[in-house]
């Protein structure tokens, strides 16, 4: 830090930087400044909305111990995010959450320059002394949704709208269809990747294309309610809210929702920084810790189906059930995971194969 500072002052050649760098950042009485860097806007009803809600939860829970959280929106994954990270670090933020995968390289880079600032990178895998990673076990929620789909679908076919075939998305698809096939062994799912996180009109058209070809349950791993709205419009069996409760958009079609609940994690991290006990590591909590929450079930769903879904949910909470425990076959039917064996976290995080029941995209 000293070296960096000296060098920057050398080029800066001005004393202007001095007051900005001053010691005030460490004054005990001052509330902790927490920064959030988002890939999109807080108004997306999905991923970014979830993080902003978490930020608000943190402020409400910790009161005066933290300053009003700083949220920087629409930060592209590239050099621009490096600048924003430094801006946040320089302006006294001691805990910074970078909430998109593509920020990884830059978080590591900036973290080296600011060893007294703690960084947390969502969905990433690169860590250092002051960079932790965190994510949520969304696939546990997908297993609950898949159970509902297995019971409720009449055609036994589901569609899944994804952005890119990254492990997190593949994991969700696999968890969904594994759960559905425990109910209906003939169940299949077709993923459609639309190569964008936010083009609602294209998402809606993808949903139409799938419904027209016989699917009656739809799930999506993109940031908005567009697909769910089409499900409502077409009156199919239904779909699932992603990231947040989307029942306002599809009161009939939303069977339930997987809610990202980052708030408790943000509270915990901020408390740890204030107490000086923060350490780096990888945190990947799920239903059990309350970081993934299953929203209310649609009241049209029969009680026994809700009970089945709840059983899957509770099994994952108490540890008696894991969706990725073998036997699991891949999409060609060949055994991939022997009976009784459970995939490790590392295997999940690099998942690039589909289970039986997935019509794999070309």
């Amino acid at each position: 830090m000293t070296i960096t500072r000296r060098n920057i002052l050398k080029i800066g050649g001005a004393a202007a930087a001095l007051p900005l760098l001053g010691s005030r950042a460490f004054a005990q009485s001052e509330p902790l400044k927490v920064g959030f860097m988002l890939i999109g806007t807080v108004n997306d009803n999905g991923w970014n909305f979830g993080h902003a809600t978490g930020a608000k939860f943190m402020k409400d829970a910790l009161g005066d111990a933290v300053a009003e959280p700083t949220i920087v929106e629409n930060v592209p994954e590239g050099p621009d995010c490096e600048r924003v990270l430094r801006e946040l670090a320089q302006s006294g933020h001691k805990l910074i959450f970078a909430t998109s995968f593509g920020y990884g390289d830059y978080v590591i880079k900036v973290a080296q320059q600011f060893p007294d600032v703690k960084f947390e990178h969502a969905t990433g895998y690169q860590r250092s002394d002051n960079v932790a990673t965190y994510n949520a076990r969304f696939h546990e929620g997908r297993a609950v949704c898949g159970t509902l789909a297995g019971h409720l679908s009449k055609t036994g076919k589901a569609g899944y709208i994804g952005s890119f075939p990254i492990p997190e998305v593949v994991m969700g698809i696999n968890a969904f269809v594994l759960a559905a096939r425990k109910v209906n062994p003939e169940f299949t799912i077709t993923p459609v990747y639309i190569s964008t996180w936010n083009d609602p009109a294209k998402e809606a058209d993808a949903a139409r294309a799938m419904i027209d070809q016989g699917i009656d349950v739809i799930a999506q791993h993109t940031d908005g309610p567009a697909a769910l709205q089409v499900a409502e419009e077409r009156g199919i069996v239904g779909g699932f809210g992603q990231g947040a409760d989307m029942s306002a958009f599809a009161p009939k079609a939303q069977l339930t929702s997987i809610i990202d609940n980052w708030g408790p994690h943000y509270v915990e991290a901020a408390e740890a920084v204030i107490a000086g006990t923060w350490t780096s590591g990888d945190r990947w909590p799920g239903l059990k810790e309350g970081e993934v929450v299953i929203g209310p079930y649609n009241e049209s769903i029969p009680a026994d189906v809700v009970a089945a879904a709840e059983a899957v949910k509770n099994g994952q909470i108490d540890g008696s059930f894991n969706i990725f425990t073998g036997p699991i076959n891949d999409h060609t039917g060949a055994e991939k995971v022997p009976a009784g064996v459970t995939l490790t976290d590392a295997e999940l995080l690099s998942m690039d194969w589909y289970v039986e029941g997935v019509n794999p995209p070309a």
Binding site: N7, D80, E82, R83, E87, G102, F164, P165, P167, D352
Partner: protein, 359 residues
């Protein structure tokens, strides 16, 4: 009171320099008023967007790094526009330059040597120039409007990135994410000031602009470009080939955009990612106009534009101004600038009502 526009015999040198400054100042003033009226902290917004990046020396390195590609592309475009060749596909040429450089970086992965970086630079320049050669060929051979072709090719090039990073060039260790592997050390642009992010591209931008200024104002080439742009018919009598000018204009602007693409991918990005097209090619069009199509002016304009980008982020972190506000400020600045343009070529004259009645 009525005004009439009267054409100046000579473009006003004074207005040429006054209007860009005036439009920046006017943007600050009007922006502060409008944003205050709609319930934001207007004065704070202007302060954070336009002043903080200048007064905080920590931000200077950001300005340099952000301005460098804008300046390099803007210089190329200003040369083309002087020649009346409307290359608006610099974004695509920037992308192709970046992709060509990435191709070299990936092909030489595992090798070492000083030659890798220059080779990437040549590839970048060639990639950009080659992509600009398509509109040049179509324009000179078939008379196809270069505005349309260069724009269409831009959108196609972006899809090429998506394809390459998703399939053939995907990082084998990247957990399936659509991006290439990080370049090896010898394929990365060196930092020129330790402890900062200022990379070799920043001085290159300045050098490119100075060379361009010298060439445009002192050489036959520069004279030819300007004559063909200003008076194509006269140029033809003077023995200057219009087609040759079109080729030169597009190749030079494409090559510089490609160079900028190479510098960005080997410098700040360090790998090819889907987010590589950051609109530098389009923003540089604004920079070229803001700089009055003069390479030295483009340096200043690039810095002004960088200030609004960097300042926009400052305003987000300090006063919570949303990112969309930056876009509104930028477009407002450009509107004022374009409006002021007319004062360079015309002067306002008061019209006496009697005369108007007669007309």
């Amino acid at each position: 009171m009525q005004f009439r526009l009267e054409k100046r015999p000579e473009p006003s040198k004074l207005m040429l320099y006054v209007t860009p400054v005036a439009s920046v100042l006017l943007t600050m003033l009007v922006g502060a008023i409008i944003f205050s009226l709609i319930g934001y902290d207007g004065v704070g917004a202007v302060r954070e967007i336009f002043l903080t990046p200048l007064t905080n020396s920590f931000k200077w390195q950001d300005l340099g790094v952000k301005a460098a590609p804008l300046i390099i592309i803007g210089v190329g475009l200003s040369i083309a526009y002087r020649a009346n060749v409307w290359n608006i596909g610099a974004e695509g040429q920037y992308v192709m330059g970046g992709l060509a450089a990435t191709g070299v970086a990936l092909a030489t992965y595992g090798m070492t040597g000083w030659w890798i970086l220059p080779l990437m630079m040549i590839a970048g320049i060639a990639g950009g120039a080659a992509y600009a050669a398509v509109p040049a060929l179509l324009k000179t051979r078939l008379g196809v409007n270069e505005i349309l072709t260069s724009l269409m090719l831009t959108y196609a090039s972006v899809q090429l990135i998506y394809y390459l990073v998703r399939a053939p060039w995907k990082d084998p260790m990247g957990m399936g994410f659509p991006q290439t592997r990080r370049f090896a050390a010898d394929a990365l642009l060196p930092n020129i000031i330790p402890g900062t992010i200022v990379h070799l591209g920043v001085p290159i931008a300045i050098v490119v602009a100075l060379i361009a200024w010298f060439v445009m104002s002192r050489s036959v080439f520069g004279y030819q470009m300007k004559v063909v742009g200003a008076a194509p018919h006269a140029a033809r009598y003077g023995g200057f080939s219009e087609n040759k000018t079109i080729w030169l204009a597009l190749l030079v602007s494409g090559a510089l955009a490609g160079l900028a693409g190479m510098l960005e991918v080997a410098g700040p990005f360090q790998r090819m990612v889907p987010g590589f097209p950051t609109n530098y090619g389009f923003t540089a069009i604004i920079v070229a106009f803001l700089g009055r199509l003069n390479p030295l002016g483009v340096i200043l304009a690039g810095i002004v534009m960088a200030i609004t980008f960097v300042g926009g982020e400052v305003a987000q972190t300090t006063i919570g101004l949303s990112s969309s506000a930056t876009g509104v400020f930028q477009s407002m600045m450009l509107f004022f600038l374009l409006a002021g343009d007319i004062l360079v070529r015309y002067r306002l004259k008061r019209v006496i009502p009697a005369q108007e009645a007669r007309a």
